[in-house]
């Protein structure tokens, strides 16, 4: 049994595609049946269209990559017009990622996305490192609490708050959004980072800085999931450099009820399928009937 629950959302398995790495599912659905995934999290949408950051937007770094997309998206109206219908036809769960500069904007977004029927849940992107405004909320306990509270009032759907690693104490933020009514937290988003070209003496990214993802961030992400798990009761969705079933199981042992696969999609689009299969094999090998038995099962060394 690999079914897990996130709020009121029942996922056939704990593996989702992470926001910003999977579009709205359309491209990868041509390569394999994305209904095999536990859920997909859409590219973040904002109220108004955003043109995004100037190129280059991508640079490879040791065991990772930086991206600086800048939340490029065509805005809410276009989402409702062109994306909502195809998303509704998917059998997998659809988590729509949203970002906004004010609580008011987020309320409009959540309201209209939920009434479209295209979303099974909302992921509140409080943590994009590449834009001003929407990226700030998850760095401040009170701002995070206020925003989640406002959105919570506007939406009945399962509400997931996506947290930034760029904080002193992630447990404190996780606790604040739990108190404010979030059904789950997903963590972590990318780390603010840079790459430099010494020949041109310029930053490689057009936006100078970007967000670091990939295997390089996994150990830090694991620790943050573990910290959050010890602070909150709501489910945690683990994110950060998950490339294989082993990585995913490490996150589940540290307290994640589910995981999101991001950067791995670029290298191996079928990584999530292999991860689901690998988790099932692992359960069998360990004589476990249910993946839920693994959540937070990490056995700390005796002192």
């Amino acid at each position: 049994m690999v079914e897990v629950k996130i709020g009121r959302l029942r996922l056939a398995n704990p593996v989702m595609a992470a926001s910003g790495t999977f579009g709205y599912g359309e491209e990868y659905n041509r390569l394999f049946d994305i209904n095999s995934l536990g859920a997909i999290v859409t590219k973040t949408i904002t109220l108004k269209p955003r043109i995004g950051n100037p190129p280059p937007r991508i640079v490879e770094t040791p065991s990772g990559m930086l991206n600086s997309i800048g939340l490029e998206n065509k805005g809410l109206d276009d989402f409702l017009k062109t994306r909502a219908q195809p998303l509704k036809r998917l059998k997998t769960k659809v988590i729509v990622s949203i970002a906004g500069e004010t609580a008011q904007e987020l309320k409009i977004l959540t309201g209209r996305v939920s009434s479209s029927g295209a979303a099974d849940a909302i992921e509140l992107n409080l943590s994009c490192p590449n834009v001003k405004g929407p990226g700030m909320a998850a760095r401040d306990v009170e701002a995070a609490r206020k925003i989640v509270k406002a959105v919570r009032k506007a939406v009945k759907l399962t509400l997931i708050a996506k947290l930034s690693p760029n904080v002193t104490d992630i447990a404190e933020i996780a606790k604040a959004v739990e108190d404010a009514g979030a059904d789950a937290v997903s963590l972590i988003n990318t780390f603010p980072a840079m790459a430099v070209d010494i020949n041109t003496q310029r930053p490689i990214l057009g936006n100078a800085t970007g967000g670091l993802s990939g295997p390089a961030i996994k150990p830090i992400a694991l620790k943050m999931v573990w910290d959050a798990y010890n602070a909150v009761k709501i489910p945690i969705i683990g994110i950060g450099g998950i490339m294989s079933a082993q990585d995913a199981i490490e996150f589940i042992l540290c307290g994640a009820s589910a995981v999101q696969v991001g950067t791995a999609n670029f290298i191996n689009p079928k990584a999530s399928l292999e991860i689901i299969e690998g988790i099932e094999k692992y359960l069998k090998k360990k004589n476990l009937k249910d993946v839920n038995e693994l959540i937070g099962r990490l056995r700390i060394w005796p002192r």
């Binding site: 491209e27 990868y28 041509r30 040791p62 990559m65 997309i69 950067t263």
Partner: protein, 262 residues
């Protein structure tokens, strides 16, 4: 689009840091068109992490060929791969050249402009155009010096009239490829020409200005750093005149030159 394990048939050095690789990939070969690309996992580990995009260089039955220059860790690893080894390939990806083949007018001329490694996708296009034999195929190859001129014989074997230029004058005419293009256009009825080009951005920009001034249709194949290669991550933008970004991987890599905000 497919993700398949292909077998390396050969991988050999053909110029300074330049390699030619043949892959056995029947399902991709059947579908891929000139100007489209494949996204290659250079190693089986996560070092380097990302795939590398390579445009179709030639098609030969169930085999596809790529031409690449070693510029970083990915291509360096690829250059050391041996025949018989398996390589993970995603493709075909993107939109290729849209050659205008409808008219049988012998006055028509198709001009391929290749700067440096820009020969890679244009050989595939010449291969396709040569099958139709409807119009004169003229190829301009330009590079900094003689050793960087690639694929001259391939183009000739496909029936093209080839003109070479090098910046240092070590082979062909001395000067920029755009000077050669201007010279060629002065001898032709430019109203009946079409240009297909690939090369460094500065060259494509200059060429686009020439084509625009003479109102010659011009398609260019662009390069950009890519992550997903399929249009999901929005990591490879190019600004278009409409003021927005298009993705090189999904909307391109071949664009009408007049569409790009150079």
């Amino acid at each position: 689009m497919k993700q398949i394990k292909t077998k390396i048939i050969s991988n050999r050095l053909i110029g300074p840091m330049c390699y030619h690789m043949v892959l056995e990939a029947p399902s991709v070969a059947r579908a891929i068109k000139p100007g489209q690309f494949i996204h290659v996992r250079c190693s089986d580990s996560f070092e380097p992490l990302l795939r590398r995009p390579f445009s179709l260089h030639r098609k030969n039955g169930g085999r596809i060929e790529i031409l690449y220059k070693v510029v970083g860790s990915g291509t360096e690893i690829l250059s050391r791969r041996q025949s018989g080894e398996a390589v993970d390939v995603l493709g075909p990806l993107g939109n290729g050249f849209a050659p205008k083949l409808s008219t049988l007018n012998s006055q028509l001329s198709t001009i391929l402009v290749a700067g440096g490694m820009g020969v890679a996708p244009l050989v595939a296009l010449a291969q396709e155009l040569s099958k139709k034999k409807t119009q004169k195929l003229r190829v301009l190859i330009g590079a900094c010096s003689k050793s960087r001129i690639l694929c001259e014989e391939e183009f000739r074997a496909l029936g093209a009239e080839v003109s070479i230029s090098t910046e240092d004058g070590s082979k062909g005419a001395k000067g920029l490829i755009t000077d050669r293009l201007n010279f060629l256009l002065s001898t032709l009825n430019s109203q009946l020409s079409t240009i297909y080009a690939c090369g460094p951005n500065a060259m494509l920009k200059a060429l686009s200005r020439i084509a625009n001034a003479k109102r010659i249709p011009c398609q260019v194949s662009l390069e950009e750093r890519m992550a997903c290669g399929v249009g999901a991550c929005l990591g490879c933008p190019v600004k278009v005149k409409a003021g927005e970004y298009k993705m090189v991987c999904k909307d391109g890599p071949v664009f009408d030159a007049e569409e790009i905000a150079w």
